[in-house]
Assembly symmetry: C2
Homo-oligomer: 299 residues x 2
Amino acid sequence: MTETKNSDMGALLRDKAQLVDSMLKTLLTEQTKIDPSLKQAMSYSLFAPGKRIRSALVLWCCEVVSSSINRNAEIAAAAIEMVHTYSLIHDDLPAMDDDDFRRGQPTCHKAFDEATAILAGDGLLTFAFKALSTHVAEPNLVIRLIGQLAEAAGPAGMIAGQIADLNAERTTPSIETLEGIHINKTAKMFQCASAMGAICGGANDRQLMCLREYGLKIGLGYQIADDILDVSASSEQLGKTAGKDSKAGKATYPALIGMGKSKQIAEKLAHEAVATLGLFGEEADPLRQLAIALVKRTK
Amino acid sequence: MTETKNSDMGALLRDKAQLVDSMLKTLLTEQTKIDPSLKQAMSYSLFAPGKRIRSALVLWCCEVVSSSINRNAEIAAAAIEMVHTYSLIHDDLPAMDDDDFRRGQPTCHKAFDEATAILAGDGLLTFAFKALSTHVAEPNLVIRLIGQLAEAAGPAGMIAGQIADLNAERTTPSIETLEGIHINKTAKMFQCASAMGAICGGANDRQLMCLREYGLKIGLGYQIADDILDVSASSEQLGKTAGKDSKAGKATYPALIGMGKSKQIAEKLAHEAVATLGLFGEEADPLRQLAIALVKRTK
């Protein structure tokens, strides 16, 4: 059942994912000086069948405010996907979550080795900033995009979430603390994706604020859904090891407040996300559908 | 004896190092949202007593072309020091060079743990780009600085050097291959430091080209001197484990072409570095002294 619901989301994302993959290939192919063994490991993780939700968000938010996807948004989408992939590679390392399986294939350090995985992650993170600084057309836009990405992915964002997540293992944090971890670890990158897309589309302040709020809501909802699926779905359905969080003694929404309450909160967040889009007409329908597909996954 | 020679270089760098430390402290202190345990690990490695050569180069090159150090150069110097420190933290990890001792104190993963060290490195790398995008005044300057740094530190630069270095362990590469590894691993970051400083100082094309060339020469010379000192100096003198490279089966200049020839090449590079400075008067004397101090270390 989860599989069907996952494919609802997959269908919604497919076109955008293809566009992102194509831009990622172009950017990597242009780089002829990258060490070949490093490039192989970077490509291995980058082109593993991911859902491309964050990068699709960049493209949709650009489309919502400007009726079309421009090249700057495609570069921004590729950059956020590189940063997301680096975070997965490092997160899966033995010293971190120690996972063998990701996006339906062996993790980077299993397919290559730990040193290569560390460096492939470092390479993707650095390359994301290089791509933005080289390929985005206007200087002011480059700065805003890099500022957003470095803030969301940095030590006050995603990395703060990752370390707090590790530090909370085998403890029972309050639900407020866990919410803070999920916001840092996941929701800020969704928020960043929405903001980058909106900025590329030339959003005004009000549009930007709404889309940032949308990103934060569905990002938190997505992470709670992930907690739920870790308990309820199989490894095959997830493309990564199921039941991993509870085995690692990780704090999750279902562990803290139960499955029923967790599903309610995920649903509430999806509705709140849709409500942030009142400013927009049918051009924002894909964002509304994404919020709904997100909750459907957990049912 | 090496200790005396190291302190020649230390004396030359001291004022600049203080300026860089002060800027690093300002930048980190401003960031109140960084996770505290992460900030502690980042600060631990960042403020370990390093020589600050790369960041001093940024400041000197700015001074050489504009007669003074401006705030943009101070930010760029801090950013390159963050990136250098991240590279040391990751390089010392058990899966990489597996080192317990760096800058005279336990390495980051020994003082904290592996997960924290990986994330502290990731945090410093990301924060460097954040600092440049937020604090450097002119958009065009930000883009040039970020472009230089991401290129030099990225998968076609330092990271390519690190993976090639690991792949060359227990092999006997040609001296040309080893030179390529050293250029990627070390010299490109010195070149980048010179370029960033020159750009902040408003260098013209000819000045920029000369200072980039200077950086590349002393960067390669510095790495060869490092190879020499790994054999000839004690761990106490180095502040890191001595004899490490040969024990790890790493290809080094002394191992490939002998100690005498290695010292000759380091000396030749220092002279060539000085020769690139013909365009400049006595304002470039610190750069000349640095090149000479570099060779003196190995005697």
